[in-house]
């Protein structure tokens, strides 16, 4: 795309610097986007990608530096300003009103909307736009009846309806199925054909290759490299992103399982508001020194299974045994005392207390023990040295241990949880989507820690959406579909096709075994 350099860039950000408390989020970053181009902004968690884009849409103001849009110096103070310039952003969390229709959501907040909107006109316009770009959505559908992929289309329509021709997408495929990702790619291609352009925030290498023309890599707030996508390999990008070589395979001891540590026996959780049980006759055994992975599309009962084991959810039928002791429907505290550690799926809402310090969050499991308390009294000095030890061991990036956890990046929040749960693990580790949303470096650390638990003789239950992760980390894989376990396979005796079939609800006939 050499001729691009002759054109005026639609967006030019120059020497942008932005400070946050204790963090230099963007350090003298420059960026250029040309018409008809997709620019991938690649970087680890906390590299400054989202911050940079939030300044382009007026959510933050740069401390210094300038922004030009179509050659004109732009002062962007608010999302309204950026919208007026034709810049629109789709955030990771969609900004839609769940109980309103697609059409209502699209016109919501429009400035020139008359008191009584002309719904037929709006609907016609939406239909026309969705045809033009292949964004099939029913304008009269209510948002919370739509799938995540459809909701994302509504977000795109919202921007197109408002006349945006510079789209910013923050990790758009994180929530999509592979099929939906391909559709998104097609939609984007159509828009580019009309001279629109897009910036794509991501930390997934294959997406960069698939979607973008140019890639700009950020690391710790600075630009590391800008290059044409066709000239680089995923391995190059990964190295640029983290600044060192990544291990794509992980070291582990040979598989040598001990006795049964955790046993789930015909567990049923009824669903009062749905047609089928949340968990339907689930049975599972995990041995010492073994990692059992749970595969499946999110929402097929994986999370409920872990919550039944950890005492957070009651089951209607069936039994849970830990070391042969009946622990069915006991309290979460009893499960913790039985040595179960749990990395929950929703790390912000459940994993940490955002308003408490890193140190306090690290102590939240061990505060009952002599390591931190003497009887009922907590010893602050014990807690401080305990927290310092974990911060060091797990390389948690935090200004001090007194910083509130909510100010850390997603990856470091996850490391805080990981440190606490692994340190207190007394035999069983339950990890739910532990590497979701993490960058390459943090993901690798999480996986290696999980394998280390297994090598130490602990029983591990790993729930993941990524088959690749399960195949890399687990010894056995159980596939869940609609609350049932479709089958359990040794990793070495199965393949992606077989697992994929089971994830889609088909029970494959086994080859002679």
């Amino acid at each position: 795309m050499n001729d691009n350099t002759q054109q005026i860039p639609v967006v030019r950000m120059e020497n942008i610097t932005k400070h946050f408390p204790g963090v230099l989020a963007n350090d003298n970053v420059s960026l250029e986007l040309y018409p008809g181009q997709v620019l991938a902004l690649l970087g680890e968690n906390g590299a400054g990608k989202s911050t940079l884009m939030n300044m382009l849409v007026g959510l933050y103001r740069p401390d210094s530096g300038t922004i030009h849009v179509r050659g004109q110096l732009a002062e962007i103070h608010s999302p309204q300003d950026s919208m007026a310039l034709g810049i629109g952003m789709i955030h990771q969390e969609f900004m839609l009103v769940g109980n309103m229709t697609v059409a209502e959501n699209i016109v919501l907040g429009l400035k020139d909307l008359p008191l009584v909107p002309k719904i037929p006109e709006i609907r016609a316009r939406i239909t026309e736009l969705s045809k033009r770009y292949g964004l099939q959505v029913d304008p009269d559908a209510v948002i919370h009846d739509l799938s995540v992929g459809e909701q994302q289309r509504v977000e795109i329509l919202k921007l197109v309806y408002r006349g945006a021709d510079i789209l910013i997408l923050d990790e758009p495929t994180a929530v999509l199925t592979p099929g939906e990702s391909r559709d998104l790619n097609k939609i984007l291609k159509k828009m580019l054909g009309e001279g629109k352009s897009a910036i794509f925030i991501t930390h997934k290498m294959d997406e960069v290759i698939e979607f973008s023309h140019k890639v700009q890599v950020l690391r710790r707030g600075k630009t590391v490299n800008i290059c044409d996508t066709k000239d680089v390999t995923p391995q190059d990008l990964a190295n640029m992103m983290v600044g060192r070589d990544i291990l794509f395979s992980l070291d582990r001891c040979p598989f040598n399982p001990g006795g049964v540590k955790l046993k789930v026996d015909h567990v049923v959780v009824e669903n009062p508001s749905g047609p089928r049980p949340v968990l339907d006759d689930v049975s599972l055994e995990i041995h010492r020194g073994e990692i059992v992975g749970i595969a499946g599309v999110a929402g097929n009962g994986q999370q409920q299974l872990t919550e039944v084991i950890t005492g957070l959810m009651r089951c209607n039928k069936g039994k849970v045994y830990i070391d042969g002791v009946d622990m069915t429907n006991t309290t979460p505290l009893n499960v913790i005392k039985a040595g179960v550690s749990h990395i929950p799926a929703d790390r912000g809402a459940m994993g940490v207390v955002g308003d408490m310090s890193v140190g306090e969050n690290l102590a939240m499991k061990k505060y009952r023990t002599n390591e931190i308390s003497k009887g009922m009294v907590m010893k602050r000095s014990f807690m401080r040295s305990f927290a310092d030890k974990l911060i060091k061991a797990f390389v948690i990036k935090t200004p001090t241990q007194d910083t509130s956890v909510k100010f850390l990046s997603g990856g470091n929040i996850q490391k805080t949880i990981l440190a606490r749960e692994i340190d207190s693990c007394g035999g069983i580790l339950i990890a739910v989507y532990p590497s979701r949303g993490l960058d390459v470096g943090a993901t690798e650390a999480v996986r290696q820690n999980i394998i280390a638990q297994r090598d130490r003789g602990n029983a591990v239950l790993l729930v993941s959406e990524e088959l690749e992760e399960l195949q890399m980390v687990a010894d056995k894989i159980a596939v869940m579909f609609e609350g049932r376990i479709m089958g359990i396979r040794n990793v070495k005796e199965t393949n992606t096709e077989e697992l994929g079939m089971m994830m889609a609800g088909a029970v494959p006939t086994r080859r002679n075994a």
Binding site: F20, P21, G22, R61, D63, S64, T66, L73, T310, L312, T331, P332, L333, V335, I336, K337, H342, P344, A349, M350, G351, V352, V353, G354, D355, M356, E360, M364, K365, Y367, R368, S373, M376, V377, M378, P399, D402, T403, S404, F407
Partner: protein, 352 residues
């Protein structure tokens, strides 16, 4: 040049102290406007109030006496507030404390007179605890909204107390109020009007501070208040702690009621619903739920009440002006609390 509001990377300790102080000064300024509008010189009016609250030993004693139940109610509701459990029923719990001690004084004749006071205080605490425990239990078991239950139960308590002192517990002579407690069972004085309840209140400050900031239980309350889901996941029982915190909260408010009755009115009578429970909410809030800070706040709020009497005598203003000034304290405080988590930053525009 422009200002931006930026989130701090930590709650500022300096601001946690400065905000209430500055807010209080701002509220004095707002009060000055109200006073000026009432055609009095604000300086003279504040002067009269200070004089009224602290001018003589006797007035100073009154202020301290007034601050004791305020402090205790503030401490009581503060415990529930840590759990984000909005106990606005301190008034009712206080009244049940008063009813409890009156019951013992009037009817537990089998006790020696010297035992009436300690037993009365304990019974008052217990009734206060029960009155608070009910909404706590309803919330824990069935998620019944506690702001409604605790608020409504205040009026049940007020009505019931009236029924007692106007009707069945009424002293044979006079038209309202129960008979006076035996003098040997009054709360003894330690300095003029100031009664020994002061020691109990101050001891409570130290005990609560220790419990909330130094023990595992305090840590658990903090977790529940800031993220109940995370607390439950860490094995902390939310139901148990809500009920427990409400029992303690109600017991302290009940103790305030029984103590104050044994020290001042010496009987259950009109005026038992003096509003200490409601003012206690402001105190807990202004003190940032810190027991030690509550002492200062309680004295300031008490001074606003006792000083208002002088406002009436010297400036010919209605006594309710004191309540107006008390209310004004809260507004700048709520507005100012943004600065404990945010900071104002001045940005000098650069030449382009």
């Amino acid at each position: 040049m422009r200002f931006v509001i930026e989130k701090r990377d930590n709650k500022s300790k300096a601001m946690a102290f400065a905000v209430p102080v500055v807010s209080f000064i701002v509220s004095l300024l707002l009060g000055a406007i109200v006073l000026a509008a009432s055609k009095v010189n604000p300086f003279e009016a504040y002067g009269a109030m200070i004089n009224g609250a602290f001018g003589t030993a006797r007035r100073f004693q009154y202020t301290i006496v007034e601050s004791i139940p305020l402090l205790m109610c503030g401490l009581g509701v503060g415990i529930a507030f840590r759990l984000k459990f909005w106990n606005i029923g301190a008034e009712g719990q206080y009244i049940w404390g008063a009813i409890g001690i009156t019951w013992v004084m009037q009817f537990w004749k089998f006790l020696p007179v010297t035992m009436l006071l300690p037993v009365g205080l304990v019974v008052g605490m217990a009734l206060g605890a029960v009155w608070a425990g009910v909404p706590g239990f309803l919330k824990a078991q069935w998620s019944v909204d506690e702001t409604l239950t605790t608020l409504m139960l205040n009026y049940v308590a007020i009505g019931f107390a009236e029924y007692l002192y106007f009707n069945i517990w009424k002293a044979p002579l006079g038209n309202m109020g129960t008979p006076e407690f035996p003098q040997a069972a009054w709360l003894p004085s330690i300095w003029g009007k100031v009664h020994s309840g002061l020691y109990i209140a101050l001891a409570l400050v130290v005990i609560l501070w220790f419990m909330l900031y130094k023990t595992r239980w305090g840590f658990e309350l903090n977790m529940i208040g800031k993220n109940p889901k995370a607390a439950r996941y860490q094995g902390v029982s939310i139901k148990r702690n809500i009920v427990l915190a409400m029992l303690i909260s109600g017991a302290i408010c009940g103790l305030a009621g029984s103590m104050n009755t044994a020290a001042i009115a010496h009987r259950l009578t009109k005026g038992v619903d003096g509003g200490y429970g409601f003012t206690g909410i402001i105190i807990a809030w202004m003190a940032g739920l810190n027991p030690f800070a509550s002492i200062i706040v309680a004295v300031v709020m008490a001074a606003l009440t006792t000083g208002a009497g002088q406002l009436q005598i010297a400036m010919k203003l209605p006594e309710s002006m004191g309540a107006v000034l008390q209310g004004l304290v809260l507004i700048p405080l709520l507005a100012g609390s943004i600065f404990t988590e945010h900071k104002l930053k001045l940005i000098k525009k650069e030449a382009i």
